[in-house]
Amino acid sequence: MTVAAPAERGRVSRLTRLLESETVLATALLVPGVLILVVFIAYPFVMAIWYSLTSIRVGVVGEFVGLANFTKAWGDSIFQTAFKNTVFYTFWATIFKLALGMWLALLLNRSFRFKRIVRASMLLPFIIPTVLSAFAWRWMFDPTFSVINWVLFHSGVITDRLPFLSDGDWAMWCAVLVNTWRGMPFFAITLLAGLQTISPDLHEAAALDGANAWHRFWHVTWPLLLPVTLVVVVFSVIQTFSDFQLIYVLTGGGPANSTHLIATYAYQIGVASGLLGEGAALSLFMFPVLFAVVWVQLRYMKRMEGH
């Protein structure tokens, strides 16, 4: 690249000169994104907070009631169940997704025939729209037509069907299963990318030192993957905690309101019953937890960067 001649430099516009300043350029670059987020998230979010502090119902403006909606939610037994369910669901699904995703990533990290096809096809559960795969699973768990029951019944393992979605506890585990099925590919591919950054020499060295496969994983792979793992886990926790579509399609919150998550219950109260203020309050209960998760991650990341 040639240095611009003095005459040309004079023609450089004021705008260009302005954009040389880091602050100005940064502002200009951030404007489009921030604008969209302000208009379509920040503003409606503030409105939603306002809703949660009033007794607003569909078409009825309502009046300011302070924290009444929040206290009503706190004492609501269905909400308490929903909160417990959400924590249960998020906790177990994340653990399974992490463990299985990690294992799958380790397997995919090797060289084998059809590697490309397998890697691509592993992503299918993640690709298919949630509502549609949830329907497919619901059909597989159906009390009358379940294929899983068929297999177990005809192989003699069970004599009567398993109550996949008819029992609250079973249903929650089924939801965890479907969520794991859906989310594991994302973990696997992301961790796989991380694994590719680990030089094989490190493994060689460890192996020469006498470490077996498990030791190699635990002392070499795992620490190096920690940053990636943490980030993926945080994003997954956020998504899972505020999950709506999966339970909505799989159980609708039943049986007997026992599989509600915070998001599905908030929807049922806010939209189906028209109690917008209460629905907003219910949704906002998710915030403290998510906020805490994010805060922990940001702190950790800052510490990592400090090294």
Partner: protein
């Protein structure tokens, strides 16, 4: 410069949409533009009925009234979301179809349609009691009833005959006995107690009433915690274990259809969809003896309890939204649709799955076509109560309905999660939080 190009593109996008809108408004003749009606309904179980709307009503109302009718259908479960968004944002469909007592919930956003209701009522000899309760809010009609989908028990004629019953059991006790025998033959009753808007409440509410239980008293105080309610829960718990397919706790409105058509259950409370599906596909759905399933299906009302026979039927109503820019056209359309000649076209393709809103339609010749459908004819006339009975089917009743409190009360006991005493106390407590 990428940024500038991007902003320009967005701006152009905005402008294009806005510009297109303005151009459209100016180009079209004001008369035609002003007379568009957007109606939002559910995806009718009977697809032929939606065809009537789109292929018959649309051209005919254009000819008759100059109204351009835009029919949109969505999943019934998604209508409250659309209605809420429409009301809150002040724009959306002009007419929205609302189930059950949703008119009470949205009454503040409704256009008074009392004139239409009064006209139709006079012309047809009076609208059904239940429809009146569900649509009249504070003396004004908040929505215009359109149809009722009665729920009857569809049952396998031959199986009941095998255990010696030529007629369907008339009391809960008799039904219990029959169910016990049938379940022992691996032919249980199939009933949903899940969180589903159709079959579950239409079973549990009448069950409660027939034992003498009710949610609130005339003064609006919670009256659920009574010995009548307890008796009904105790009955249901035993009934469930003895006679029902216990997977029903997770069923939605479609599971019992499938189970019945597969020959898995002997009876189920449902709209006519089971029979109609069998009728439409006699080769697909056969009995275990090889006969077409529809020849083995009969319908009956819910059994009576110690305190009488009760029923609840799903009501389908049309609300004209206040935010609509064409309330005049919307009302004209409704008036037009309710005239005998026009309504009849929709009514006849239903074949009895959905019925009219007055006794007038019980006299229609369509009922002579199929004796199996006859019980549906008079069903809505027998419904005297709606949710929230004791009080009005108002927004508090709607909240209770949407939280499935009554249904869950039975489900918890039937599923063994709570004792009957506990679950009644729980339900009464939940109602208490609503009826403060």
């Amino acid at each position: 410069m990428k940024r500038r190009k991007f902003l320009k593109a967005t701006g152009a996008g905005f402008a294009a949409t806005g510009l297109a809108g303005i151009l459209a408004a100016h180009r079209a003749p004001v008369f035609a533009q002003a007379n568009t009606i957007h109606i939002l309904r559910w995806n009718d179980f009977v697809p032929a009925a939606d065809k009537v709307l789109r292929e018959v009503y649309v051209p005919e109302v254009q000819k008759a009234l100059g109204i351009k009718l835009n029919v949109e259908t969505v999943n019934a479960n998604d209508i409250p979301a659309r209605a809420t968004a429409g009301i809150q944002s002040g724009s959306g469909p002009d007419i929205i179809m609302l189930l059950n007592n949703l008119p009470h919930l949205y009454a503040a956003s409704a256009v008074d349609v009392s004139d239409i209701a009064d006209e139709v009522g006079k012309a047809q000899g009076g609208i059904y009691d239940a429809s009146q309760q569900l649509n009249k809010v504070g003396g004004m009609w908040a929505a215009m009833p359109w149809s009722v989908v009665p729920g009857m028990i569809a049952y396998r004629k031959s199986w009941f005959e095998e255990i010696g019953l030529k007629e369907f059991p008339k009391t809960w006790a008799a039904y219990h006995e029959a169910g016990k025998k049938l379940k022992a033959m691996k032919r249980p009753i199939g009933q949903t107690l899940g969180n589903t808007f159709g079959d579950a409440p239409t079973f549990t509410y009448p069950l409660l009433w027939s034992f003498g239980g009710q949610e609130v008293d005339a003064k609006g105080k919670v009256a659920l915690d009574s010995k009548e309610t307890l008796e009904s829960v105790r009955f249901m718990t035993q009934f469930w274990k003895d006679a029902h397919d216990e997977g029903g706790l997770a069923w939605d409105d479609s599971n019992n259809n499938r189970a019945f058509l597969s020959g898995d259950i002997c009876a189920s409370l449902n709209g006519a969809s089971i029979y109609v599906a069998a009728l439409n596909a006699p080769d697909k759905f056969k009995t275990e003896k090889g006969a077409p399933m529809h020849t083995d299906i009969l319908h009956a009302a819910l059994p009576a309890g110690p305190k009488g026979l009760h029923a609840y039927h799903t009501a389908f109503n049309h609300m004209v939204m206040k935010y609509s820019k064409n309330t005049k056209g919307a009302k004209e359309f409704l008036r037009w649709a309710h005239t005998k000649a026009n309504y009849e076209k929709w009514f006849t393709v239903q074949k009895g799955f959905a019925v009219g809103i007055s006794r007038e339609w019980e006299k229609h010749a369509m009922w002579n076509n199929d004796p199996v459908m006859l019980p549906f004819k008079t069903a809505p006339n027998n419904q005297k109560r709606a949710m929230g009975f004791g009080g009005a089917p108002d927004k508090k009743a709607a909240e209770a309905w949407n939280k499935y409190i009554v249904t869950v009360m039975y489900a918890q006991a039937a599923g063994g999660k709570m004792t009957p005493e506990q679950t009644v106390k729980w339900a009464a407590g939940e109602l208490g939080k609503i009826y403060t």
